[in-house]
Amino acid sequence: MTAGTLLSGQVTAGGLGLAASGSWTAEHARTLEPLIDHATRTDTTVQRIIIDVTRIERLDTYGAWLIERTLRVWTERGCDTRIVGLPDSYGNLFKKVRAGVGKLTPDKHKRTGIVATLESVGRTMTAVGNDLFTIFQIAGALLVAFLSVVAHPRRFRFTSLINHLERVCWNAVPIIILITFLIGAIIAQQGIFHFRTFGADIYVVDMVGVLVLRELGVLIVCIMIAGRSGSAYTAELGSMKMREEIDALRTMGFDPIEVLVLPRILALIIAVPILAFIGAIAALYGGGIVSWLYGGIDPKIFLSRLHESISIKTFAVGMIKAPFMALIIGLVACMEGLQVKGSAESLGAKTTDSVVKSIFLVIVIDGLFAVFFASIGV
């Protein structure tokens, strides 16, 4: 069907007569709209409009709306408008379309330019403030829940704790071993490569030992756990929030913090030190094997050098940080999860936030510990 046959117009004595024909349906709306717009734009001087729809074969809400829209434009200009030849069967359709306003009331909240920028900066700042507040709030609620569970040990959800331990600890072991092994190997390789130029190969053992046990082991593990388990916590709690499961718990008289958050965070606090230990060992293995194969340092020499260069203190410094970092990861993950709103998009955004914020905070805490240990001279 060519466009020409859909609408034709002719100027009569009293005004403009438009004749519509063919299919005025959704499929043709794309061709119809420019036609009808053209008609309203060109003939601005006429006083009376008559739209003849006798020869329309098919009409749906799209066609009806286009005709109605045209009529409204002309009516607004003070023209006298009329439809003729409307078959009875389409009468109701027209009535239905005509009944609507078809327009939105203008949006009052929309701002542009500098105001919008300032507004978004302001909102971000208050969001940071609110986050800080919420995290302390959840930490407080967690402490209360913990104390009440200590007071009534039978209320503690042991099964849930074991279930979460399996997921965040046991199931994470292979990937943690793999990653930390590789990190240890890479550090050793780089160390040997650069130390060799001034004949200090053997110091690579000191470097691997101190770096892995004090800093990197626990940091890598925490970053992995934030991505792996923190995100899972946020997504789980968030989708429970979306489907009102958390409200359901509350109405049954349970405290969601005690039922959902406490076992999850305890599981992390137990899991992260274990994983950090496993990770440190795997990294030392990685470093040892590379030193042997690439640097020619015999495992026996590697071990004895390791004994000299590190003490139990080095190891303790690393391990002591683990539970604190676990707590931060857990708190951030649960806080974000509980803040999820109704939409799938907000679930995604909160999960991203959870991972980004917990990794950031883990690194901040690591820095604070470094300052602390330096000032007490460890």
């Binding site: 709306a29 794309r30 709306w65 286009l66 389409y90 109701n92 239905k96 379309v97 109704g342």
Partner: protein
């Protein structure tokens, strides 16, 4: 509107659907005629949702054939399939609105994808559809999480109607609505049938809705259509489940008078 009652928009023949070695549907034969509202009842778990989902192609079938608007779905090419997809609208039991889009964008979604109209016309049509289902234009800006259950159903219906479909599938559209909203919904459905001439396949448990809107009612039991016909046929049926359903405790026989549609419409259509 061309109304030919002999012409079927959906033909289901000997349909069988299995779930984990259990046959849920076993030899379903069903026709949806052009322009009619077909109500679909059956016990919970009888397989009404499964039948709906099989017809719209979300579940695979083990045997039989489904023909929609003259296209045999199992043999259709991708393009034929898509041309059928845009000629039907589906209202899911929970609405299934996209939660990250506003109501308006939800309604606009199929229009944008299929018709590629100007943004202005797209928005106007979306608003017009929202108004058609009885919502205020400003609902356009609300996200689904900001709407009540009834409003979500309405927006979902507006989205199902976005492309002016020929067939509308409704899965329990009035469940979870208050009786007044449910009555409005029925009214809306009748108006749509009259104005747009669409054929409706409606799964429902709402007796009032069955009385008011349906031209024919089909009963699913033990994987087959146990009975099909207008309200009088249902009321006269000897099928034990149907007797319980239409004459049981919840079937308010005489207390409330609900106009029975079958009678009224046949009068009008002669």
């Amino acid at each position: 509107m061309p109304f030919r009652s002999d012409d079927s928009v959906i033909k289901v023949r000997d349909l069988a659907v299995d779930f984990a070695n259990r046959r849920v549907l076993n030899g379903v034969n069903l026709d949806l005629k052009r322009g009619e509202i077909l109500g679909f009842v059956g016990a919970s778990g009888a397989g009404k949702s499964v039948l709906t989902r099989t017809i719209i192609g979300l579940l695979p079938m083990q045997a039989g054939s489904i023909e929609v608007l003259g296209v045999e779905l199992s043999k259709a090419s991708q393009a034929e399939r898509q041309s059928v997809d845009r000629r039907w609208g589906v209202l899911f039991q929970q609405g299934a609105l996209f939660s990250s889009l506003t109501s308006g964008k939800n309604v606009e979604f199929p229009i944008r994808e299929y018709l590629r109209l100007s943004p202005k016309l797209t928005t106007e049509i979306a608003i017009s559809k929202l108004e058609m289902v009885g919502l205020k234009p400003d609902v356009y800006r609300n996200f689904p999480s900001e709407l009540s259950g009834g409003m979500i159903k309405r927006v979902a219906l507006a989205r199902a109607l976005a492309l002016d479909p020929e067939i509308l599938f409704l899965d329990e559209p009035t469940s979870g609505l208050d009786p007044i909203s449910a009555a409005e919904f029925d009214h809306l459905l009748l108006t749509l049938q009259e104005t747009l001439g669409i054929s409706v396949f409606m799964v429902t448990h709402d007796l009032d809705s069955l009385h008011r809107t349906c031209d024919r009612i089909a009963v699913l039991s033990e994987g087959k259509i146990a009975e099909i016909g207008n309200m009088d046929v249902m009321l006269a049926s000897k099928h034990p489940w149907l007797k319980e359903y239409f004459h049981g405790e919840r079937a308010h026989n005489n207390e409330i008078q609900v106009p029975v549609k079958g009678r009224r419409v046949t009068e009008k259509r002669v």
